[in-house]
Amino acid sequence: MAELSAIASQIRRDIVRMVHGASSGHPGGSLGCADFLTALYFKVMKHDPSFNMDATNEDVFFLSNGHISPLFYSTLARSGYFDIKELATFRRLNTRLQGHPATHEHLPGVRIASGSLGQGMSAAIGAALTKKLNKESAVVYSLHGDGELQEGQIWEAAMFAAHHQVDNLISTVDWNGQQIDGPTKKVMSLGDLPAKFAAFGWEVIQLEKGNDVDEVVKTLEYAKTFVGKGKPIVILMKTEMGKGIDFMEGSHEWHGIAPNDEQLAKALAQLPETLGDY
């Protein structure tokens, strides 16, 4: 198996090529979370790419900020859920790789639709409850944008998870400080985020280097030590939007636009092709 950083580099290539190919999509957040999803799918989670919807006796991941679908699709394909060639169909008519993830077209690896924000934590909690009822020890993971935390449903879910001691859930927040209309601090400040989750009754873990894949692995493994201890777990993960491509880094400008041919070439020159392009 290739080094995790090498996998992440290939996934980043996939992301920009998919978004360029479709002339639409969301590269910024996808690139920022590439190290997280690489760590999760290629190291931390116990999961089966032959895919059964019920996820019996395996760990499960829910993507709540569905717009980073290019990252999700590339990670799933590179993990063996479906042929990497299918990545070329992203956002095209009759594709299983819809603009935002969906179960409707039966794409292996996707267990619920996301895109309309704020809903994924509830779904993850539901799956975690079912695992408890079924007496399974597997862990449920979810990923959320920081801007997404402005949705009220997130806090309904946060309250529920603590009250019901959903301690087989590890939610991660992509704390990149950016959203469509600008810096989160300007659009709608999240305030003291660690204190908010702590006050809701969660085990709070902060990860400063969310773009260092080894640090991500370490943090996830550390988070797992709290599973079964009576509290839901949240990782507040600092990342850089657009990470890996210098002209996209750190700005919300690349939240939802596609690179042109010239920009694509510039981007790919910065990302080693480690596993072969699709």
């Binding site: 619920i112 809903q119 509830s122 539901g126 009822l133 449903q153 309250m159 529920f160």
Partner: protein, 318 residues
């Protein structure tokens, strides 16, 4: 004859749900119940007593409840969400749309206190748009049973049916008259066969339609009263065959005439066999406080309203 159809007792339809979910849970260990602080109103006491570990209290957070229900299906649970109809639909429409309907999750959305017969609480709680909201969602089955017995039967039936379902029932004590009649999802239920006018009804208004039919029969009119408890998928074959016989129709529902049963029947008629259709339902309005009886009268849902609509429909033939 319609006058031979007698009530065998009186009970609220929500109690039919409460009793039905206990039966369903006894039969199927995957049935779980969720509520948003309305376990008592939805008559879940016995379920909670027998299956405490399969009951999930969500607090007053309906959006989260819908998402949790969707998630619980992953691993094979059959979640029944319970709250009032208003909070089961309009309040959480996008959660149902994305996490349940579009994601094809096996969730049963069970909604009580629908319509004006909720009574004194008034318009904030009396949703009259929910059938329309839910039937517009691709893949959603919409069921509006007519009495205690049918609500109980429907609750048991949806547990064994795979796919998202909206089950709508209510608060008032109402005659029971279907105890000896089988219930099948998607299959229209005949109370009489006739040749002059078809009356298609759902929910509490099925009883009113039968009473209206009694009056019409006394006037020598041959009436076909059909309970369309499953509004989606509509039993089109039954509707078309009835329209071909009677050549005019009345629809009766405790819902806005825009978007509900009336729309479904009219669309089926327009596509297949156009005939005059008269609508009994609320006329694009909100409800208000009052007793159920007063509200049924004020909003045009009474037996006399159905009789008048039938006579008008017949007069419009040709």
């Amino acid at each position: 004859m319609l006058k031979d159809i007698q009530s065998t007792g009186n009970k609220d339809t929500r109690s039919g749900f409460g009793d039905g979910i206990v039966e369903a849970a006894r039969k199927n260990p995957n049935v779980v119940a969720l509520t948003a602080d309305l376990a008592g109103s939805l008559k879940l006491q016995q379920f909670i007593k027998e299956f405490p570990e399969r009951f999930v209290q969500c607090g007053i957070a309906e959006a989260n409840m819908m998402g949790i229900a969707a998630g619980m299906t992953i691993g094979g649970k059959i979640p029944f969400t319970t709250t009032f109809a208003n909070f089961s639909t309009g309040r959480v429409y996008d959660q149902i749309r994305q996490s349940i309907a579009y994601s094809d999750k096996n969730v049963k959305i069970c909604a009580s206190h629908a319509g004006v017969t909720l009574g004194e609480d008034g318009a904030t709680h009396q949703i009259l748009e929910d059938i329309g909201l839910m039937k517009m969602l691709p893949g959603m089955t919409v069921i509006v049973p007519c009495d205690y017995a049918q609500t109980k039967a429907a609750t048991e039936a949806i547990a064994e049916y795979k796919g998202p379902v909206y089950l709508r029932f209510g608060r008032p004590v109402w005659p029971i008259f279907t105890s000896d009649r089988p219930f099948e999802i998607g299959k229209a239920q005949y109370f009489s066969e006739g040749t002059d006018v078809s009356i298609f009804a759902c929910g509490h208004l099925v009883w009113n339609a039968i009473q209206a039919g009694v009056i019409l029969e006394e006037k020598g009119i041959s009436v076909e009263v059909i309970n369309i408890h499953t509004i989606k998928p509509l039993d089109e074959a039954a509707v078309i065959s009835s329209l071909k016989k009677t050549k005019c129709a009345v629809t009766a529902e405790e819902h806005n005439i825009i978007g509900g049963l009336g729309d479904a029947i009219a669309q089926c008629a327009a596509k297949n066999f156009p005939v005059p259709v008269e609508y009994v339902g609320t006329k694009d309005t909100f409800g208000e406080s009052g007793t159920p009886k007063e509200l049924m009268k004020k909003y045009g849902l009474d037996v006399s309203d159905i009789v008048a609509a039938a006579e008008k429909a017949m007069s419009r033939k040709k």
